[in-house]
Symmetry: C2
Subunit: 337 residues, 2 copies
Amino acid sequence: MAIASIKEVAQLASVSVGTVSNVLNRPDMVAPATRERVLNAMNELGFVRNESARALRSGRTRTMGLVVLDVTNPFFTDVAKGVEAAADASGMIITLCNSDQDGPRERRYLDYLEEQRVQGILITPVAGETQRLEQLIDRGTPVVLLDHRATRRNRCSAAVDDVLGGRIAVEHLLDQGHRRLAFVGGPMTISQVAERHKGAEEAVAEAGGEATLELVEVPSPSFASGRHAADRFAALPAGERPTALFCANDLLALGLMQGLQALGLRIPGDVALIGYDDIAYAAGAAVPLSSVRQPREELGRVAAELLLEEIDEGERHRHRQVLFEPELVIRESSVRS
Amino acid sequence: MAIASIKEVAQLASVSVGTVSNVLNRPDMVAPATRERVLNAMNELGFVRNESARALRSGRTRTMGLVVLDVTNPFFTDVAKGVEAAADASGMIITLCNSDQDGPRERRYLDYLEEQRVQGILITPVAGETQRLEQLIDRGTPVVLLDHRATRRNRCSAAVDDVLGGRIAVEHLLDQGHRRLAFVGGPMTISQVAERHKGAEEAVAEAGGEATLELVEVPSPSFASGRHAADRFAALPAGERPTALFCANDLLALGLMQGLQALGLRIPGDVALIGYDDIAYAAGAAVPLSSVRQPREELGRVAAELLLEEIDEGERHRHRQVLFEPELVIRESSVRS
DNA sequence: GCAGGGGAATGAAACGTTTCAGCCGCCTGG
DNA sequence: CCAGGCGGCTGAAACGTTTCATTCCCCTGC
């Protein structure tokens, strides 16, 4: 059952192991006839390279780690697609890890990735888990932040301007005449959530006067949390309800929409709704959902390219922080009829 | 920048490398005082185990591969979650690969996984790519089919009865009084698609009489294909249009719904619609989508457990084929008003 | 007082590659 | 005819672990 090794191939082809290795890694350094012989031996024995031995000896692997907050969120799978495309183009392989917004889980994955000696790591970190990353960098594993701005200058990042995104979402709601607004999102420790909220606050502040922004904090930016939030909203006396809700992401917004409709509230009539990410399902929702679009695949692609660059350049690499601009997508859910 | 090895740790702690290895793998075989000393040395040096060396020497890794057809399909991410949960419980790590329904791509990933000497592979194979799997099994890598029935008895599988699923979907449409039906899906080489279609045909045949089932083949069971299919549908003279559409999956159904509505057709008034998978977004669609629910997470969990079992039992393992039953979920999109 | 046992640690082999210095023959140019 | 060069190959070291036979001591029981 054991797979043939280079040594057995060498024996069968009557060459040295060095030659077999050369056939594998620098085929043109070996004479065509010999190469042929070796190749045949490989086929006959069903030879499969042992990546562990290769990595051990050469000191380099061909894998990069990607750690996301939630694999079931289409935002992240789209980003992952972009990452994969870029990696693929450079012959790299991605190990996709799902931290599920859990610190210990994230740490376990990072441990694993470091033990694997991955060439680099792309990560949307769980709130506050920055120390472990610092450690990775110190020990020589390049880390690129994904959908998260690098505050220190010692790493690369690819992100979208969430403050701006929050701002344009709320400006749009204000334009529609809403004055009593709420931001639905959480936990506020997630930087994306906090920044979107900040942008929202800024927009409200600048609008001056009577506009207000309430904060409806939810335990996680998920579909289920959205449904729960609907109950809390409906429990408010009609007079105290905000007239427009800005959700930290589309999952939340879609869950909220479903909950609100189940309770008999109309969108946008009773309450306007806008989400964030513009995932594919936003446009096809019961009421087409307005949202703030992020360049998801591009975000992933650029992040991966930054990492590949860093891996390639080594010591002389200059860290870069790439920031994309989000784009407002207006649909029915936020438009006054 | 190079990470400290076991040797340096041994030196600093004034013990042999064997002892350091024991601290790592059989801590209770080493005296507490020594253990402490070694642990301190590890901390001081920032020691990180080298998984390649470990795997090379011990001959076993702690990773399993998961190959899916489309990471952006929520069905698969839900399945992946189940797989991960089971793997996690056994201290295993999952490498998630996305074949994107592309044969060569799938083969590249399988090569990679075999070179990594993963302990086993969970896969929803691309149509017809069975030869490579046979090879993997022959060489000793256990393979469990996921969402795909094993026809040969030489492997385990966890799947849902797609023929039955197709049948109940269509029986429901017939119940609603529809007689002119169409199955929207493709490519028919995907076994899930073919089986759902088969179930649909059976139901129509048994209904006897005037009921008909047209086949609308699309290039892939995706959102985009659904949108395109809508145009084709609308291009038919009104008299020749089916009155009910059964889609091979929800992505397709949601895309189709969006396309049909954009063309001014009403659901279910002008045409009834039913999907497959019951992904989270089905219930929140413009018109809540009827669907055939599969136990997604459980499917993943059970598949992973089968694989773990096989890894554990080795030679004396008996292959098992687990088959789940799908469940009809009726919502507005298929109900005659 | 001694044989025997057992807990704790050692040292070296082995895993399957890559890498590199060196060797061998043959060809070329002077 | 010979020096030099070069293409093609060999052989062995090295990568960082795990594993196992072996050694070393100290303790126990007779």
